[in-house]
Symmetry: C2
Subunit: 282 residues, 2 copies
Amino acid sequence: MTDPSTAFVPGHVTGFFSPCPADDPARAGSRGAGLTLTDGVRVTVREAADADDGPLITLDGDPLSMPPVEAVLGGLDVSDRARVVAESDLPLGTGFGVSGAMALGTALAANDRFGCERSVNDLVTLAHCAEVEAGTGLGDVVAQARGGVPIRLDPGAPGHGRLDGVPAARRVEYLTFGDLSTAEVLAGDTDPLVSAGAEALDRLVDRPTLPTLVAASRRFARDAGLLTDRVCEVVDAVTAADGEASMVMLGETVFALDLGLSDAGFDADACRTCDAGAHLVD
Amino acid sequence: MTDPSTAFVPGHVTGFFSPCPADDPARAGSRGAGLTLTDGVRVTVREAADADDGPLITLDGDPLSMPPVEAVLGGLDVSDRARVVAESDLPLGTGFGVSGAMALGTALAANDRFGCERSVNDLVTLAHCAEVEAGTGLGDVVAQARGGVPIRLDPGAPGHGRLDGVPAARRVEYLTFGDLSTAEVLAGDTDPLVSAGAEALDRLVDRPTLPTLVAASRRFARDAGLLTDRVCEVVDAVTAADGEASMVMLGETVFALDLGLSDAGFDADACRTCDAGAHLVD
C-alpha cells in the first residue's frame, strides 16, 4: 500500500453573509466575507486494508458521521476504499468551518491518495456541493480554498461564484461559548440576513480593509438579530478597550483583530489569517 | 513616519503558454500552466523622506528602472512618495516572473503602506495590466497571485481571466544558463506557440497532474521551437535518469520535479511549489 495523503485546510470565520439558495448546489451559496485562519484541520486519507479496517471517518480520534465527507468520497468513487482521519485545532459547530474543511480536505487528500486526477476547481466544487446539500455550510469551502481574507461577491462553486479579498495579514483572537445550528438559523426567517448582509457587503466593497470588515460584521450581527447576550457583552468589552471584534457566523463565538480579546482581559485563543488556501502537505 | 510594508510574491515558472493579445490589457494575457515557487521576491515599500531620498527602485541593492513597478506606483498615485526595495531569491530575466513579482509585490505593499484601500482583485489587475503594457509578461501576475500550480484557462486579470489548478505540492529544482527576451519571442512568429500551447492545455485539462504538466511542457517547448541546445541536453539527461524536467518559458532555464536535476548529476537550486499566493508579511 502506498502512503496516506494529507491536506491542510484553514479554519474560516464568516463575519457577515447573505444566503443565496439555488436548485443547483454549484450555484447556491452565500455572499459575504470572513477570515481564513492558520488554525485549521489536517485531513489524512488512507487506503483501508479491508471492510473491517476501522471507522470511515474520525475527528480527533472519535468516529463520527459527516454527510459532506461521505458525499465527497462517493463523488470520487472511493467510499469503499478510503478512511478519513481528521485532526482539528478548532471546535466543531462553533462557526469555524470545520465541516467544510473536512469536506475539502477529504477531496484534496483522497484525490491525491487514489490518483483521481481531478483539478482543484473540480475538487472545490465537489466539496462545496456536498456542504450545501448537507445544509452544513454555504460559503466556507470556497473561502477555505482561497485563503487570506475572502470576500464572496457572488455565490457558488468555481465557475459560478466570484471572489475578491481584503489585502491584509493579521493576528486573530477568538473565544468560543458554544454552538449555533447553521441549519436552524437558515430554516428561520432569512429576510433580515439578506438585507443586512447586502448592506455589509456594499460597505466592504467600497472600502476593503480589515477594520471595515469587522465594523460591517458587528452591524450585521446586530441588524440580523443574531447576537447572543454573552457574545454582545464580550464584543462591547473589546470595543470599549479600543479593539475590533465581532461575532462568528454561525457560532456563539467572538473573533477579534490583533490583541483585541487579550487587551480586554479575556483568555482567548490566538492564530493568524492564513496566507494559503487549502493544500496538500507532506 | 509609519513602518514600511512588505509583501512576498512567489516565483513562477511557466511550462507552456499561448499568448492572447487584446487591446484592453485587463483582457490580454496568456493561456498556459506553470508552478509557483517558494523562492520568490520580497518587496518592501517605504515612505520617502524627501525627493532626494535614494533611488525609486532597487533590486538586491542595485538601483534599476522597471516600468511595470513605476506604472503600479502611478496607478496608486504614490510615485512621489514611495521607495521600492526588492530582494529576490531568483535571477531577473531567466523566466521566474521576477518583474511580475515586483509589480504585484509593489501593489500589495504600497496599498498597505499608504492606505490606498484597494481590494486584492484591484491590485492584481493593476499589476497585470502594468506587466502586459510593459511587454515583460503575460500570465505571471495572475499565477503569482493565486499560488500553487496554476492553470490559466482564459487570459486576463481577475473578472476576465479564469484559473484552475493542479492539486499538488512538490519539491522543484532549477538550473539557469541565461536569459531569453520575452519581448523578442513575442515579437516573432507566435503561431507555433498558439497551436502548441492549445494542445498542451487540452492535455493538462484532461489530466491535471504534475507529470502531465511537465510532459506537456516538454512537447510544447519542442513543437514551439524554443528549446536551446543546452536546455535540450539537460532535459534529456534528466529524462534518461527517469526524472521529469522541461524548459522554463521564457528563460534559458530548466525546471524539474523532486530530485530530477540532482539525480542526473547537476548542481541545481531547490525549492518547493508555493502553497500561498502573493501576500503581505510582517
